[in-house]
C-alpha cells in the first residue's frame, strides 16, 4: 500500500474550502444491508473464480454492457435442425450445464418452413431483457425474454426464417451482443451485434 505522497502543489491547491470539501466527500456512504447481501449472494451463485469455464465478455468502449453477463464458454452449434435439445435432468458439471444454457441455438423441428431458435442471455442481475434484431425490426418492446427456472438466464424461443439473422439483447436499457455467438461483421454503427444462421431450404 502506498502512502499519500507529499505533493508540492498541495499547499497552493489546498484551502479551507477544499479541506471542507474533502471532509464532506470522505464521509462514508452507508452500505445498505440488503444490497450487501445481494452482492454476496451473487458471488455465491457464480462459479468459483478459478473455474476454467469462464471467458470474459467481449466488451466495447462506446456502449458498454451494464448487466453482468456471465459469459461462459459455449459453442454456437450453427444452423442445422439436428441440434442438441436442452434435456432436463442431465447430470453434468455446472460449467457444462451452464454452457449449454448459454448457447443460442436452433431447436429441432420446423414450423412452416421456419426453425425455432432459442435465444439465451445470462444475466442474473438484470431486471429486464429483450431481444432485438432484423426479425423484429429492432423493436425493443417486441420480444421481452423470460427468466430461466434458476433465475440466472433469460430465454426466448423464436421461429425464424432460414438465413442469416443479426440480433442483440437489450439488458436494462443497454444493448449487449451475445457473448456466445459470432459477431456480425456488418456495419453495426459502432455497437456490436451477433449473428445466428438458420439453415433450411434454399430461399
Amino acid at each position: 500500500m502506498s502512502r499519500p505522497e507529499i505533493d508540492p502543489e498541495r499547499d497552493t491547491a489546498e484551502s479551507a474550502a477544499i479541506e471542507r470539501v474533502i471532509a464532506e466527500l470522505r464521509t462514508p456512504v452507508a452500505v445498505r444491508p440488503e444490497w450487501r447481501a445481494e452482492i454476496l449472494r451473487g458471488a455465491a451463485k457464480l462459479a468459483s473464480p478459478d473455474a476454467p469455464a469462464s471467458r470474459g465478455v467481449r466488451r466495447w468502449t462506446l456502449r458498454p454492457l451494464t448487466a453482468i453477463a456471465a459469459a461462459l464458454v459455449c459453442v454456437v452449434l450453427g444452423a442445422t435442425i439436428a441440434v442438441v435439445v436442452l434435456g432436463p435432468g442431465r447430470r453434468s458439471s455446472s460449467a457444462e450445464v451452464l454452457a449449454n444454457l448459454t448457447s443460442t441455438m436452433p431447436l429441432p423441428g420446423e414450423h412452416g418452413g421456419q426453425s425455432t431458435v432459442r435465444f439465451v442471455f445470462v444475466a442474473p442481475y438484470a431486471s429486464r431483457v429483450s431481444l432485438v434484431g432484423d426479425f423484429n425490426r429492432w423493436n425493443p418492446s417486441a420480444m421481452p425474454m423470460r427468466r430461466s427456472a434458476d433465475g440466472r438466464a433469460w430465454l426466448l424461443d423464436v421461429p425464424l426464417a432460414p438465413g442469416r439473422h443479426v440480433y442483440s439483447f437489450i439488458v436494462d436499457g443497454d444493448l449487449a451482443p451475445d457473448p456466445a455467438a459470432p459477431r456480425a461483421g456488418d456495419d453495426d454503427f459502432g455497437v456490436p451485434s451477433s449473428v445466428v444462421l438458420v439453415a433450411g431450404a434454399k430461399s
Binding site: 450453427g78 442469416r164 439453415a199
Partner: protein
C-alpha cells in the same frame, strides 16, 4: 444518445412471460417493409431510404435488409447521415453479391454474400464459391452457410485467401452445415487460446475433410 428513449420498457409484459412454460415469440417472420421504418427518422432520411428500397426491389433484390439496417441504426443512436450511408452501402453490397452469385441466388444467400463482401471477401471469391457449389452438389443446398462461415473467418482476421480456400474445399466436398459451424467454433477456440488464425483454419479444415472422407468410405 438515442438509447435513452428505450429506457421505459414494459415491465408488465416481461413478468407475464414468466408464467409461460415456453414463451414462443410471435411473428418473427414477416419481412420488413418501408412502412415499418421507425418514426424517429427525419422525413428526408426516410424518403431517401424508401427510394433506395424501391430501386433495389426494382432489380429483384430484397429490400427488407435495407429497412432492417435503418431500424438498427435508429436503435443504436446513429445519425441519419450514418444510417443512410450504411443503407446505401448495403444496397450496393447486395447488388455485388448478386452479380457474383448469380440470379438464382436466394435472398438468404444474397444477405450472406453481402455480409461476406462487407468484411473483405472479394467478388471473385464469391464467384469461385458459386462455381464450386454448382459443380459439386448441383446447387441444391444453400450457399448461405458457407458464406456466413467465410464472413466469420474474415472478421476474425484470417487471411482472405486462406479463408476462401478453406471454405471452398468444404463446399467442394459437399460438407453439411454442421461442418461449417464446427469449423468456425473450432477456429474461434484456437484463436482465443492464442493460436495463429491461419494455422488453425488450415488444420481444422483438413480435419473436417478427413472426416468427410471417412464417412464416405463407410457405407
Amino acid at each position: 444518445m438515442r438509447l435513452t428513449v428505450i429506457r421505459p420498457l414494459i415491465v408488465g409484459a416481461m413478468l407475464s412471460g414468466l408464467a409461460q412454460a415456453s414463451a414462443l415469440a410471435q411473428g418473427g417472420a414477416a419481412p420488413m417493409t418501408a412502412a415499418d421504418l421507425p418514426s424517429q427518422l427525419a422525413a428526408a432520411t426516410r424518403q431517401t431510404i424508401v427510394r433506395l428500397g424501391d430501386s433495389v426491389r426494382a432489380v429483384g433484390l430484397p429490400d427488407a435488409p435495407l429497412y432492417a439496417k435503418a431500424a438498427e441504426g435508429v436503435l443504436k443512436g446513429a445519425t441519419d447521415a450514418r444510417i443512410v450511408s450504411a443503407v446505401r452501402t448495403l444496397a450496393r453490397e447486395l447488388g455485388d453479391a448478386r452479380a457474383a452469385l448469380g440470379s438464382v441466388a436466394g435472398d438468404a444467400e444474397l444477405v450472406a454474400g453481402a455480409s461476406a463482401l462487407h468484411v473483405g471477401a472479394s467478388p471473385a471469391m464469391l464467384r469461385q464459391l458459386r462455381d464450386t457449389h454448382v459443380a459439386g452438389s448441383g446447387g441444391n443446398t444453400s450457399l448461405a452457410t458457407p458464406l456466413v462461415a467465410l464472413a466469420d473467418l474474415l472478421a476474425r482476421r484470417v487471411p482472405a485467401s486462406v479463408a476462401a480456400a478453406a471454405i471452398d474445399s468444404l463446399v467442394a466436398r459437399g460438407a453439411p452445415s454442421d461442418d461449417f459451424a464446427a469449423l468456425r467454433a473450432a477456429v474461434e477456440r484456437d484463436i482465443d487460446a492464442g493460436r495463429a488464425p491461419e494455422a488453425s483454419v488450415v488444420q481444422r479444415t483438413q480435419g473436417l475433410l478427413r472426416n468427410i472422407e471417412g464417412r464416405r468410405r463407410t457405407p
